[in-house]
Amino acid sequence: MRSMASVILFAALAVVPAKADPLPQKSDQVVQYQIAVSLDPAKKQLQGTERLTWRNPSTTDTVGELRFHLYLNAFKNTKTTFVKESGGQLRGDEMAENAWGWIDVTSLKTAAGADLKAGLTFIQPDDGNNDDQTVASVVLPEPVPPGGSITLDIVFTAQLPQVFARTGYKDDFFLVGQWFPKIGVYEPAGMRGQTQGGWNCHQFHANSEFYADYGSFRVEITIPSNYVMGATGVRTNQRTNPGGTTTYVYEQADVHDFAWTADPDYVVITAKFSATEDVSPAEYARIAKLLGRSLDEVKLSDVDITVLLQPDHRPQAQRHVDAAKAGLKWFGLWYGRYPYKTLTVVDPAPGGGGAGGMEYPTFITAGSSWLLNYWPFDKLHSAEAVTIHEFGHQFWYAMVGNNEFEEAWLDEGFNTYSTAKTMTAVFGRDRTMLEFLGISLGEWDVNRLSNSPTLKYNRILQNSWSYVPPGTYGFYSYQKPALVLGTLEGYIGEEMMARIMRTYHERWRFKHPRSEDFFALVNELTGQDFGWYFDQVVRGGDVLDYDISSATTRPVRADSGVFDGPGGRKTVSEEAAHKQTEDAVKAKTAQYETSVVVRRRGEVYFPVTVAFKFEGKPEVRMTWDGVARTNTFKFVRPEKLEWADVDPDRKVLLDVNWLNNGRRIEDDLKPSASWTSRWLFLVQNIVTTLGLF
């Protein structure tokens, strides 16, 4: 495998120019959007014109058909694939009655003036549900040659739904996402492992997010002048119109989506992330050393942060700013500097929570509540966790643009892993979610707790909408991938893992990787083949669980029986042998034989460390490849065994049950006594209250 790895390494070196900064500066701009849109706040409608230029990225294919996402049609009626799959419910939010959403393309022309509207048809590439109108196709009068471009002029009307599934309105709050006719991704042969060129343009499903090509956006948004707004990118212009409206212009290059928000009630908080003040020289030096990079390479840049806050959440302003800064800092240090000038954090209006916890380029929505202003709820780090997670998507999905329809784990899972690491950097391990009255809960706990021995009927690598039951999508896309990456880190070490993640991000920034690309990179940088691991836990669905099935330690018994020796035949009775053993124990000269059986209870095998603690001696650690179903460790030593423990540092996060990892020879009552005393206290209080009613 080493020769193979060096070939890949050589090839990679040939591709990546040996520059000081391996971070790509620009995306390969496939699309260019110029949109002008106006909001009718009473009807909750958008009127838009869109000039879209699309470049055929293939060097060989002539493309005669274009495909578009019309995402808002997912909320059109009860027959859409989205509503059928979700049952009108997503992330605990109900779809409001009579608040449907839709988008109509009212005109579609080429820049040359050819009318294509009549040829626009709805297609259903995923499930053949003829009532689903979330993907449209149009056959071009003249195909686009390899490398050639086409410009289209589109006019559309969009009805926003009441906030549900990320987008819509709640009273006068608007979060406008997935709102414009958006072209799919044409994947030429060779891209993401495709054997032939074709459109990747999936329908909108309940369990899946998005996929799009990079490009530039220039969007003019007209809203009533009393509204406060925010959007993807930089505000480059604004003008007041007659009739009490204002038009704002936002521009951003090297992104693949655009979202905006408007609400008259927003409190605008601005802050600056300073590359020199928010990161200390020592932190730069530590990360540069960890990554094996120069200080220049890990240097960050300044970012303007805007938080659009609900008035009732004013006390949380600093928390959101701090969380955004933590994201900019740690994701930037670990994976590569945030390249955009702005970051907007949106705090959705009460009742608009369905729009919260979502990511768009340079624009994220948070999740908070008025209660978090006050003790003891201010001890909950959930607001920070949401903001950091959504910020993390700037790196996983916005910049490393995987296909969320097909490989959601490449952003959600990588991001869950990165969020846990960031939360740990900010709050400390095991208390990232909560630390209150001696009760604590960490991100890694949360990720591990969602695992179970029964979760083995799906895999990480499958289409987002294909999970059975659909609710398991979350575990396989968020928590399990985080455990897979965390377990890998425990095995190859923090430094190697950090370098893999850094290199993966650098190589795939502004590009579209697939899982295989990550696997290949792991093999390349470690110089080992990790196919056995990814086969089992990413392509496969089995469970990992090691335990100690038995542990014994006892004095080596003196032998009895008839023995022939130089002095003739000698008989040692059982009693004599027994006494000899006992004497040796009393005289502390006895040897002890210890036997520990470590068992692979799950189907997944994984190399494990086993720690043995003998009386009065430091821990002995041994490793086992973990392949056989059991492995017996035997020792003959002058000390008794106190305990044995598989994976003593609890690095194998995928191990579904840690409770069975260790075994003591003699019981220790203290932990159960300590916990029981608290339970007794609780029960006593309840019983005494009821008993003296």
Partner: protein, 309 residues
């Protein structure tokens, strides 16, 4: 009111035996669900090596693994055992209250304590059961009505853009329910005091009369109750302060100390409750002097079956 509180506290202080007896009895009853919990926790924790974090912190992850991968098979019993203990406690409440009132009514005879206590328990048991049933049913009905009415009234608040309104709506509902529930519970307290003093046999009448009494003397009646709740809150805060600032219960000494502290808290609770009953008795005697000296012959309605003793 202050005089009543002082009187109640003095009464509880004098009847130390009573406080300790109640503490011991309910402590014993608590072992019904605590023993299986100990078996369950032991099966999961005792074999764990020293590297376990169980002693350093209360670990949610570990707790959930303990329930998911229970080796002892008793985890399922816990809920049943806890429910059983609570039911027994509720029934026992009607039993011991007779004893408590009997003992409190006899501050001058501490030597006859056990005798008086058990006599009170037995003597009033059936009447207090009927009282508890009447109070429980009225409480359930009225709390249901209040919850529905206040819930409907505050519902629009939960739909506005004014987010604190959501929580305020919930708070108003909870407080209204608490006030209504407290009314029926205070009524129960005074009804028992009335029955113990006057030897009444008509429980429904006694309860209605006591509800009237609480309504007429709402301020002092609620005031005494609130003082009691405030005292409990104070004790709870003290405990939380200890729990947060004490060293983790990681050594035998620390565990024993924690246990000791917990038991002091429970005894304080019992003390406060006995004190409240003492205070209520005192207040009742002041505000509603007995018409005829006990034991009074009260009209026996057909609905009331005399006690089987």
């Amino acid at each position: 009111m202050l005089a009543s509180i002082g009187h109640g506290l003095r009464a509880a202080g004098t009847q130390r035996k009573l406080v300790l007896l109640l503490w011991a009895w309910y402590g014993l009853l608590s072992f019904v669900p605590v023993f299986p919990a100990f078996v369950w926790l032991s099966s999961g924790l005792n074999m764990r090596p020293a590297s376990a974090t169980a002693l350093q912190r209360f670990d949610f992850g570990l707790l959930s693994e303990l329930s998911n991968y229970d080796q002892s098979g008793v985890f399922g019993l816990l809920v049943v055992a806890a429910m059983a203990a609570m039911v027994v406690a509720l029934v026992s409440s009607t039993f011991v209250m007779g004893g408590v009132l009997e003992v409190l009514g006899s501050e001058d005879e501490p030597r006859m304590f056990m005798h008086r206590f058990s006599r009170g328990c037995g003597h009033f048991f059936w009447r207090f059961v009927r009282l508890a049933l009447i109070a429980g049913i009225s409480l359930a009905i009225v709390v249901g009505i209040v919850a529905a009415a206040v819930g409907a009234m505050t519902a629009p608040m939960g739909k506005t853009e004014w987010e604190p309104g959501w929580y305020l709506a919930g708070l108003i509902t909870v407080v209204s329910i608490a006030i209504a529930a407290a009314y029926f519970l205070l009524g129960l307290d005074y009804a028992r005091i009335r029955v113990a003093r006057d030897g009444s046999r008509g429980m429904f009448k006694a309860y209605v009369a006591s509800l009237g009494f609480v309504a007429r003397h709402a301020l002092p009646a609620y005031g005494l109750g609130l003082t009691f709740v405030a005292a409990l809150a104070g004790v709870a805060l003290l405990y939380l302060a200890y729990e947060t600032n004490s060293p983790a219960a990681a050594t035998t000494g620390a565990i024993v100390l924690l246990l000791l502290f917990q038991q002091i808290v429970v005894i304080a609770r019992v003390f406060a409750r006995v004190g409240l009953i003492g205070a209520e008795r005192h207040y009742f005697a002041l505000a509603s002097p007995a018409a005829t000296p006990a034991p009074a012959v009260v009209t026996v309605t057909t609905a009331d079956v005399p006690p089987p003793v």
